[in-house]
Subunit: 299 residues, 2 copies
């Protein structure tokens, strides 16, 4: 790394943070992560996931404002391609957060939804490490709840918030996607909606049927567009954080995140080598061929 | 393999085929596949995929009847958990195929949708190899078009049929899932539906915007429940097969299927070893940790 990026990063230059994330995103961030990893671990990482249209970006916006009022610095990583954050917009005019564009205490970054080595989670985890090491207090990762990505984000965040909205059949989706297992906090956004209480009831019923070892996810009703419920949401995140810290769960959770990340990197590096080995094997019994491939990896 | 399974399998015992598939499904099929692999390669494998409710199982049922009338023997592998085949039912009373239960020329098998080593595609490919080696002429693999599984099936089948239905927004889904790339034949089932012509038009428009190197997927309207269009469907599958054979594409496609299968087996065997290695690595820079893991695999 024969450039001025690392010194600028360490000085707290915001453009250096942006460039560092870009470098990681393009798969050239290894040295950088190596250099700053020791400074990371202090930030609180919060994943916010949920189906499209639930109001995640609005929720993130009001949460950022809430944290700024408390004097906390915040990084936002958006891996939701439909999020306004991904297009450089911050909520528009309803909630006046545009001031954050020039606020050095807020750093917003969108990530491509398919990543380099280690997948989405790899690039996102790198970005979170960089924001953390750079000195931001809270790192919020916004991801759209479709497919595998929200589960991956739950692997790397300390606290995962699952946002749902009334009248959308969301409660059924919750069970489907196994999202109940990843939620540390539930948000029922659009709490003024006529179906809001019904969604809350359904969620509570489902939660009653589930065993939660240690921590039971609280259910926070919000009206993000009006900023309502955001203090209760942060309190719930703080309560989960306190639970993680007092029970030693945080260390276990971060160890799990570390292992998840290393596994993704290692398998991501092995896959093309396996592919190259397979291409050299003659047709025949696929199990025998797989053994021949595995022999090249000392197994 | 110190048992009588292989001799019974080679004698053409149908229960031996069933037991052989069960053995593969539970991850103990390696010796068996090794022993019979040389006899496989003669059957034609046809994947039939599409969204839930499109009538795939009915389509498979009438296709089986059509093939039986031609004197061909048929194996059906269902990896769709919602398929009636997966529950041992064969279409019920509308189309009288229940006679096939006692027809030795038809063998029906449902597969668990999450598999052993090598995933769904691994267990399904094993079952297809066994049916092929056992002597069935055509192997039909029915899979529900959600997520990754239909793409995996397209990797192992000679011909992939994508079934769509009118009035369901299917044409949009086609583009979304990248299913246009895997279809060798399109079926618009429920052709009597008022929206059928519109779906056909949309599909044709989308296909006009796509470059098809070599083979352009034909579009076959069917009314599976009445057995209509099934002859045209088989003709389209035969035409694709002729294309594959006359252009040398079949050999390339089967080589691709072989490589896909070996890759899945090899990575499936490496993953738990990587996991075990990761568990022994101390916390720290994840890239350095990944290198430490990779060093154990001679890379």
């Amino acid at each position: 790394m024969h450039d001025d990026l690392l010194p600028a990063f360490k000085r707290g230059d915001q453009r250096a943070l942006a460039r560092a994330i870009t470098r990681c995103e393009s798969g050239r961030g290894e040295e950088l992560i190596h250099a700053v990893f020791g400074s990371a671990g202090r930030a609180r990482t919060v994943g916010i996931t949920g189906p499209p249209g639930v109001g995640k970006s609005t929720l993130v916006g009001v949460l950022v404002a809430h944290l700024r009022r408390q004097g906390k610095t915040v990084g936002v990583i958006s891996v939701d391609p439909s999020s306004p954050f991904s297009h450089g917009a911050l909520l528009g005019d309803r909630i006046r957060l545009t001031e954050h564009y020039t606020d050095p205490g807020v750093f917003i970054r969108s990530m491509a939804s398919r990543g380099h080595l280690g997948g989405v989670a790899g690039a996102t985890a790198d970005a979170a490490t960089l924001m953390d090491a750079w000195g931001l207090d809270v790192v919020v990762i916004e991801t759209v709840g479709v497919g595998q990505s929200e589960i991956e984000i739950a692997e790397i965040a300390d606290t995962t918030v699952v946002a749902l909205q009334p009248g959308s059949g969301d409660s059924v989706q919750v069970l489907k996607a196994g999202i109940l297992e990843i939620a540390d906090v539930f948000v029922v956004n659009k709490r003024d909606h006529p179906m809001a209480l019904q969604l809350e009831r359904e969620l509570r019923t489902m939660m009653e049927m589930t065993e939660f070892p240690g921590w039971t996810p609280p259910l926070v009703p919000t009206q993000a567009i009006a900023g309502e419920g955001v203090a209760a949401l942060w309190d719930a995140i703080e309560a989960h954080d306190a639970y993680l810290r007092t029970t030693g769960t945080l260390a276990r959770k971060r160890r799990g995140a570390f292992e998840h990340r290393v596994r993704a990197l290692a398998l991501g590096a092995l896959a093309p080598r396996v592919e190259a080995a397979v291409a050299t094997i003659a047709d025949g019994d696929p199990y025998a061929a797989a053994h021949a491939v595995l022999a090249r990896f000392g197994t």
